[in-house]
Symmetry: C2
Subunit: 335 residues, 2 copies
Amino acid sequence: MFKIRYLVAGILLSGTLSVASAWEALPTTAPAPADNPTTAEKVALGSMLYHDPRLSSTGTVSCASCHNTMLGGEDNRPNSMGVHGKTGGRSAPTVWNAAFNKVQFWDGRAASLEEQAGGPVTNPIEMGMENWDVVVSRLKAIPGYQHAFTAAFGANSISKDTATKAIAAYERTLITPHSAYDRYVGGDKSALTEQQVKGMNKFASLGCGGCHSGAAFNGEGHFQKFPVQNAASYEQQYHLLQDKGLAEVTKKAENEHFWKVPTLRNIALTAPYLHNGSVPTLEQAVEMMAKLQLGKTLAKSDTADIVAFLNALTGPFPKQTMPALPATPGKTFNK
Amino acid sequence: MFKIRYLVAGILLSGTLSVASAWEALPTTAPAPADNPTTAEKVALGSMLYHDPRLSSTGTVSCASCHNTMLGGEDNRPNSMGVHGKTGGRSAPTVWNAAFNKVQFWDGRAASLEEQAGGPVTNPIEMGMENWDVVVSRLKAIPGYQHAFTAAFGANSISKDTATKAIAAYERTLITPHSAYDRYVGGDKSALTEQQVKGMNKFASLGCGGCHSGAAFNGEGHFQKFPVQNAASYEQQYHLLQDKGLAEVTKKAENEHFWKVPTLRNIALTAPYLHNGSVPTLEQAVEMMAKLQLGKTLAKSDTADIVAFLNALTGPFPKQTMPALPATPGKTFNK
């Protein structure tokens, strides 16, 4: 779990970065599982479902409410706000490039995008639907959805399985493989500023990439303990130890405070930070992670350089057409 | 206030509708006020602001939350749900073709789209911002908004005035001038079904157009008393008399139960119906309006024909690209 990958990349050769093989550009398509190959029809349906607030009990919360692709793929809140203004203890992870996570949710409890998509819809503090049978009944009552499911999966195919497959197929299109970092790694040396290259070197030499490895800087499915170092000095401010992470799922002491390594792509857009959204700015997050994970106290200039580098992991975002959500003429679905 | 316009149009001539001049197609552009001519830059900025949940105190409610253009321009709820799950007593009117209303809100208390846009942002049960100064401060802290306002209005132009002008300019693009009805009125006799033409005739001969007049079927700024007839038999079910409409604004007895005539365009998509969203289906709304406004009891087939006609007033909706909402890198705006 504690892989060290970026040592080579950290070596400076005559002032320019040695781009070792460890620096990977993001693939331009996301991998899809064998039982859910991506098709245009599934993506179109998935975009409709993803943006449809009628998948919530009140008709006010869609997947996009908390994982907003017009923003950085989440909601910029410490914790998300579900139906009736309810909030939980965790911050919404970005949907951008979630397709490159090997597990989903902060505690990695879902093994796929498909499995993840099934969760929030019936979570009482998120979308609040009674159960998936109610969701399926609602969808079946909307002629436009009958057509869209037929196009994607065949006749009479509306189910939790197909709905979550469509949402996952859509999410696999939500990737950002053409960032300044990717262009730099691809050979365009003008894509990064001098400060960003310095930050990239520091990111590597400090060991940030020990956890944030891979093209998505997400550890490629690894879990990591956080905090590693004694966090007492931060506890009052950030409450890092209240949530036990993976152990909340497994109930095993050895999993306490283990978390899925989150992607750093588009991190500049997803403040506030950490599983509980307790850290307001990227500067504070970088300083604290260096201290608590690597035992290093960063100079202000180091932090600024690393933040500059992290900004090179932003977008660009593919253009999206707003889906027209199919109506059931003259009926309401919301109580 | 009680104009009768459609009598001529109601005359059947050898089984086909006589399209009198009273049947108007919707203009293909919406009128803009002299002090806010529509420009591409304003529309782009307005689309961003319209979809930005950071215009609400919680960062969860945008204009689009209740006036959702992916749906029928509203939220399909009896009443809308603002910050912290708060609800009010009125149903969100559709934003589609609101540009053709001469006054805004159910009680017509705003004289323009610009004035309307200033309201919900600081309404405590809608978007809940403390005041517009706070909104302007938030926007000023976002570099991308500084650029977008500069492009639309010149340097250092972020204000309530410019923000609401941009939103109004965007809303003037949210029009649906190419419905089946418009094509029919424009000469394409195949655009409506036989039943829809029957319904169109009944709509006219019953006198529905006495209030729902003009190309947008919105009375072109007229107010109308509702209910006109004794509504005692409906009161328990629909609570029509609780809200006094225009009189809630003017405090004048003679304005009690007067309302802005709402557009019928896209009405098939905006269930539930009436100012309080108490009527679940379009069939029920048509039956009740005939009874309470015109003193007529409709046969089931009449209702079905009129509903078929009203469906001819739906869409099509212009394609919209999702705006990329500008972020303030590494900062959060939401408490």
